[in-house]
């Protein structure tokens, strides 16, 4: 062992794998409750809006209301199972369970820890994101080949929101502070994403603000994947999601490092 004097690099596969294996093994002990909360919540929104509001509205932006909500709801799932999961589980792991202290005492750097955690949330989000959409299929959303892209879109957006959640968890000093982020930022973003009504129904300023909402870009990409792509506009949406993910990935690493390395 002593013979290998190779300096270990950054973002090593072995380290990412270690972090993710820990998550997968833990997930095996709580997957039922986690899957329940991550998929039932958005499905309730889908059915409440789709059936309730849908009886008042016939067509929105050229689609039946169940088609409109059944695709937009993917972003809601991404938010719930991406950002919220990452915020709470990160905070609990580093603050209460001291899990992260154990992991970075192993040959794992904070960069690898944060990346592994976000990747695992992204995988889950990619899967969970499709569930309410499949429920919508049962209620009249026509299946299409483009739906096969939806897990990838949900996973990309999920990585960004997971990184956002880790970033928030690293910023707050007590779990109650999540309320400010949730009520002040996430709830408005959840509503002004074009999920339940088009942004064009809002005043101009709100539409402009909505363009900076990653959920809006996720909604647009999902709709276009399912109903037909829009070329250059979709590249823009994709670029926004990639930029969002990259920015919060680096921010999450930097802020978690400040918490873990004194």
């Amino acid at each position: 062992m002593a013979t290998s004097r190779r300096r270990l690099g950054r973002l090593e596969r072995a380290a990412l794998q270690g972090v993710m294996v820990r998550e997968v093994v833990n997930f095996s002990s709580f997957w039922r409750s986690s899957t329940f909360s991550s998929t039932v919540d958005p499905t309730i929104y889908l059915l409440a809006f789709g059936l309730g509001f849908g009886s008042l509205v016939t067509r929105v932006a050229g689609h039946t209301y169940i088609e409109f909500v059944g695709t937009g709801i993917v972003a809601t799932t991404v938010l719930f199972s991406g950002a919220f999961t990452a915020m709470y589980s990160t905070f609990i792991k580093y603050k209460f369970q001291h899990t992260y202290d154990a992991i970075i005492a192993a040959p794992v750097d904070t960069e690898e820890l944060v990346t592994g955690e976000a990747l695992w949330v992204a995988v889950r989000t990619g899967v969970y994101g499709c569930v309410p959409m499949l429920v919508a299929v049962a209620f009249g959303l026509a299946p299409s080949w483009g739906m096969l892209l939806v897990p990838l879109i949900a996973a990309l957006a999920g990585f960004g929101w997971a990184a956002f959640g880790i970033f928030v968890a690293a910023r707050v000093s007590k779990i109650e502070s999540f309320s400010y982020w949730q009520s002040g930022l996430l709830t408005p973003m959840f509503l002004v994403a074009g999920t339940f009504f088009p942004l064009t129904a809002l005043p101009h300023w709100a539409q402009v603000v909505g363009n900076f909402n990653p959920l809006f870009h996720c909604v647009q990409l999902v709709r276009h994947a399912v109903f037909g792509t829009e070329g250059i506009a979709d590249l823009g949406h994709l670029a926004f999601l990639i930029g969002f993910a990259l920015a919060f990935w680096r921010l999450a690493i930097r802020h978690m490092e400040r918490k873990l390395i004194l």
């Binding site: 794998q17 833990n26 369970q97 154990a102 004194l262």
Partner: protein
């Protein structure tokens, strides 16, 4: 200095705000030795332990672990050492075996050796029968043994033990001492922080006594005791007035002494024969109190 010691710390300083938690510490752990880092709470032991895994970055000084310079090459050092933390950070909803499996991955035990490494760790910690138990069903002693087993999965050459027996019953503590002693005889280099004097005295080849972030004495326990506290102590019991009188006598005669609640111990007092009291063997605690003026616990 590379190659001769498992750990070399030189002039280590760490400040938190205006407080220097560690204030110019030198520390050496030779290969194959068990070294104790002794001191009361707040002496800087935990900060020092965390610096050895690069979870604390020094403001000044040089740290070398297994020949790697920290913090730059700490990842390689971490790959080759085991860490047993003071705070229990096991995954409580997982079984004993699952906890070990996760860390077999984190410590990069090769796929073909994982099974064997886990079995070896289970046997070492005497937890074979509890492999399928969830961690939250284990006793405090079993959890601590599991923590140690987890730190040994990858057969490290160096083990850091941060307060390994804190909060455990005396009997459980002795079980752990047997385990640590076994590792020592197997040639694992050990650095152990503790504030239990007896633990350090029994297990450690040398101890470094810390106070206010500095090393105030370094050496084998018996040598330190002889040098600072003599062979025998005279323990004088009595009324508070009598104890005050004894202390005054000791001061006048130049005998080192310490107050221990209900008694006064006259140390290094092979000459204090005329005093009426119980004779007892001196210990490391006497040394500590003499050198730092602080009581432990």
């Amino acid at each position: 200095m590379t190659g001769t010691s498992a750990i070399t710390v030189h002039g280590f300083v760490k400040r938190f705000g205006s407080l220097a938690a560690v204030d110019g510490l030198d520390l050496e752990v030779p290969f194959g030795a068990c070294v104790g880092l002794l001191g009361p709470n707040g002496a800087g032991k935990s900060t020092t332990m965390k610096a050895l895994t690069a979870q604390v970055i020094p403001d000044e000084g040089a740290i070398e672990v297994l020949g790697y310079r920290l913090p730059d090459d700490s990842k390689q050092a971490r790959a080759e050492m085991g860490v047993v933390p003071q705070l229990d950070n096991l995954d409580v909803s997982l079984t004993v075996e699952q906890n070990l499996l996760v860390f077999a991955y984190l410590y990069r035990v090769p796929a073909g050796e994982r099974r064997r490494a886990i079995e070896h760790a289970l046997a070492l910690a005497n937890l074979r029968d509890r492999r399928a138990s969830k961690v939250d069903q284990l006793s405090g002693g079993m959890r601590r043994r599991l923590l140690i087993a987890r730190g040994l999965l990858h057969r490290p050459r160096l083990l850091l033990l941060d307060e390994p027996t804190v909060g455990l019953d005396p009997q459980v503590r002795q079980e752990l001492w047997a385990l640590i002693d076994r590792l020592r005889t197997e040639g694992v280099s050990i650095l152990m922080s503790t504030h239990y004097i007896e633990e350090a005295e029994r297990l450690c080849d040398t101890v470094t006594i810390m106070s206010h972030g500095k090393a105030v004495a370094v050496g084998p326990p018996q040598a330190l005791i002889r040098a600072h506290a003599g062979r025998q102590a005279v323990e004088v019991y009595g009324s508070p007035a009598r104890l005050t009188e004894v202390e005054a006598t000791a001061r006048r005669r130049g005998w080192p002494s310490r107050r221990t609640g209900t008694s006064v111990s006259i140390l290094g007092g092979d000459g204090a024969v005329e005093l009426d009291g119980e004779r007892r063997v001196t210990n490391l605690e006497d040394v500590f109190v003499l050198l730092t003026g602080e009581e432990i616990d």
